[in-house]
């Protein structure tokens, strides 16, 4: 039915099967869209946020998708600037995932603000001291870069590619992709960092506050580094999931292992820095403000030391080590576990840096504030997931996303291919 659009030499499931899948996920998407409409129409009273939780699930989702979307800029950096050529086999997919993550982040932001029609004030009336301003500028600019990086891949669609103009455009864009990759890496450095800065500059919130370098708190660098470190984990995890669902090998193990190895080293270095940061914060910064570390992890029904241990050791150190060591890295199961742990770890870190910050009482007579999102918040947070699944399905089906696909799946003569 849609065979004319499917990349040459690639085997795809039948269109009805594809359509059914899309409809199911589309229903979830519509549920999210409905919740989104409700929120825009009735306002943020549809959420369970309150004056203690001005930042909640959505900001976490934002930070998390941007962190895991960090695979795009980092892979791009490695591919185009450091010229690690093997990575061309996964760069397309990394860009798509990045595109999904960043467009989702922008969408969530548009839902999250109380006055969406005034959202542009952040650009027009920008306060240069605010980390959020930095985030907004870099995020938007980088999203534009991602779009540009995504375009050539779209133009490689079999039908689009028949148009000479598109063919040449795609070609030329490939030629200058290094420039965009460099721009993307530069922008990402700042917005990933400034997202870390969002929490780190809060000197009224000793749980979040960090000292730092010039105007940038240490969380600035930790966030950038962690996005670069864990982003590839997410890219590889999604690749693995795609492979499982399609039942095909799409990227060669040497590529996966290479990226995993880089990721492993990045994670390990990050986690060492994170441990140093945590120790310094717990023993110097927080006590200087009158807080024992126990203040942040006791006397409440949820946030205990377990979260610190889970984030740093179980979901940080462990995947780092697995991915560094050749034997464990090359074991597909352990490698997958490391990816999963890594993604959980980075999401947990973002959770802690948003929600736990809000939960901890600062005034001595204040109390812990716990929060559970409303269904509208959950639906709008799942919305990007559904959107991501649909976009990946469509791009995978119609675009030559994985250059090694044909090679890895030597096609038996089939009716579909001429």
């Amino acid at each position: 039915m849609d065979s004319a659009l499917i990349p040459e030499g690639a085997k795809r499931c039948s269109f009805p099967k594809f359509a059914i899948g899309i409809v199911i996920v589309g229903a979830v998407l519509l549920w999210g869209v409905f919740a989104m409409g409700l929120i825009w129409w009735k306002g943020l009273n549809q959420t369970n946020m309150n004056d203690y939780y001005g930042f909640a699930l959505w900001i976490w989702a934002d930070l998390a998708v941007i962190a895991v979307g960090g695979g795009a800029f980092f892979t791009g950096l490695l591919r185009y600037i450091f010229n690690i050529d093997e990575l061309k086999n996964i760069i397309n997919f990394a860009v798509i995932i990045g595109f999904i993550c960043y467009s989702s982040a922008l969408l969530i932001l548009a839902i999250d603000i109380g006055q969406p029609l005034r959202g542009w004030f952040i650009f027009w009336h920008a306060n240069v001291h605010s980390m959020l301003t930095e985030v907004a500028f870099c995020l938007s600019a980088y999203f534009a870069v991602l779009t540009i990086e995504f375009i050539p891949n779209i133009l490689e669609n079999r039908q689009a590619n028949k148009v000479p103009f598109f063919r040449h455009l795609a070609h030329n864009m490939h030629g200058i992709m290094a420039v965009f990759a460099a721009t993307g890496a530069f922008l990402s450095f700042f917005h990933q960092g400034s997202l870390g800065g969002v929490a780190g500059v809060l000197f009224g919130r000793p749980f979040a506050y960090r000292e730092g370098l010039l105007i940038w708190p240490w969380t600035f660098f930790l966030f950038t580094w962690s996005a670069a470190a864990f982003g590839p984990c997410f890219t590889l995890l999604i690749t693995k999931i795609t492979e499982t669902i399609t039942g095909k090998k799409l990227v060669k193990d040497n590529v996966v292992n290479l990226l995993a190895k880089i990721s492993g080293w990045m994670i390990t270095i990050y986690i060492i820095a994170k441990i140093i940061d945590t120790i310094y914060w717990a023993t110097v910064t927080a006590p200087s403000l009158g807080f024992n570390i126990s203040h942040f992890y006791t006397n409440n029904g949820f946030y205990g030391y377990w979260i610190l241990i889970t984030e740093i050791l179980v979901c940080g150190l462990v995947p780092g080590i697995i991915l560094i060591m050749k034997s464990t890295r090359e074991n597909p199961t352990l490698r997958l576990i490391a990816f999963i742990l890594g993604v959980i770890g980075i999401c947990l870190n973002r959770w802690v840096m948003v929600l736990q910050v809000m939960a901890v009482p600062v005034m001595s007579f204040d109390t812990w504030a716990l929060y559970f999102p409303s269904w509208q918040e959950i639906a709008t947070t799942i919305l990007p997931v559904a959107y991501g699944i649909i976009l990946i399905s469509v791009t995978y089906r119609y675009l030559p996303v994985f250059p090694q696909e044909a090679e890895l799946n030597a096609v038996e003569p089939a009716a579909e291919t001429e």
């Binding site: 306002g43 946020m49 306060n127 605010s130």
Partner: protein, 286 residues
């Protein structure tokens, strides 16, 4: 054409917690003065807009040694680290919807500029900032009591105590009209100050030694020697600020004879309080 009416003020407040009765007059006076809306259920204090909120403190001891006190909490109008105007909230607002007025020391909030990102709320450790989760609605006819001096807020923006800035505007209008260069102490008083039946709130210019608030607080012009971020610390040993150690430099001071209350003002590690309680007032000369 240029007018020299901009002598730098630093408006602030000292609240005597020994006099405060927790009666709530300040809260209602504030709500009534500033067109603060109300809704059917206001018992969830985490979404109840109270620019002035009165906290109940307890010394944590058991019967019959337990003691309680009340602590009114308006916006602290923080001057930020070193008193340079980078309040926790002001420095994070992405759209310059809140600003530190160096002429008054008042932290403004411009509702029409705010687009509701709520970053400032996360930045404020005092929970002095409130979000309009709902459209403000008054029962039919009740909008008749709204004051034209304070603009009612729309859904989706943050609001907070403004130190009744409109009263300053009105006082200045009058001064201009009468050809005066500046306003008198009693011409600009906040709604909570004038309402307090116990006279527990004293408001005025911390920069003006003739003002009562200055005389009670005796702010130290030098940075604190233990923490260079802290400026304007009180030289009165019975006076403290909330979370002074964070370097937010609030302009709300509290006064109490009771040590346990003063200790509640900040966080201390074990043993710290006993070391500093007697040197609580700034050690600087003066």
């Amino acid at each position: 054409m240029k007018q020299e009416n901009n002598k730098e003020h630093k408006f602030g407040m000292v609240i005597d917690l020994d006099k405060c009765t927790g009666c709530g007059s300040c809260m209602v006076s504030c709500m009534s003065e500033n067109n603060v809306p109300f809704k059917e259920d206001e018992s969830n204090k985490k979404d109840s807009i109270t620019w002035m909120r009165v906290y109940k403190l307890t010394n944590g001891k058991s019967f019959p040694d337990t003691e309680t006190a009340y602590l009114p909490r308006p916006c602290m109008h923080c001057a930020g680290k070193g008193g340079h105007g980078h309040s926790p909230c002001v420095s994070v607002c992405p759209a310059t919807a809140t600003e530190y007025g160096h002429d008054t020391g008042i932290v403004s909030q411009i509702y029409t500029r705010c687009f509701g990102c709520r970053y400032c709320m996360g930045a404020c450790p005092y929970h002095a900032r409130y979000f309009n989760w709902w459209d403000p609605k008054w029962p039919e006819g009740m909008e008749n009591y709204l004051s034209p001096n304070v603009s009612p807020r729309m859904r989706g923006v943050v609001e907070k105590c403004s130190f009744c800035y409109h009263r300053y505007q009105a006082a200045r209008d009058k001064a201009y009209h009468e050809g005066r260069n500046d306003i008198e102490e009693n011409e600009f008083q906040t709604a909570c100050t004038t309402a307090c039946p116990a006279g527990a709130i004293v408001f005025g210019d911390l920069n003006n030694p003739a003002h009562k608030v200055h005389q009670i607080v005796k702010p130290d012009p030098h940075p604190d020697k233990w923490n260079r971020h802290v400026v304007g610390k009180s030289r009165n040993p019975k006076v403290f600020r909330l979370l002074e150690r964070l370097g937010t430099n609030p302009k709300i001071y509290y006064l109490s004879e009771r040590e346990w209350i003063r200790r509640k003002g900040d966080n201390y590690l074990d043993g710290e309080w006993d070391k500093i309680k007697n040197h609580h007032g700034s050690s600087s000369h003066g």
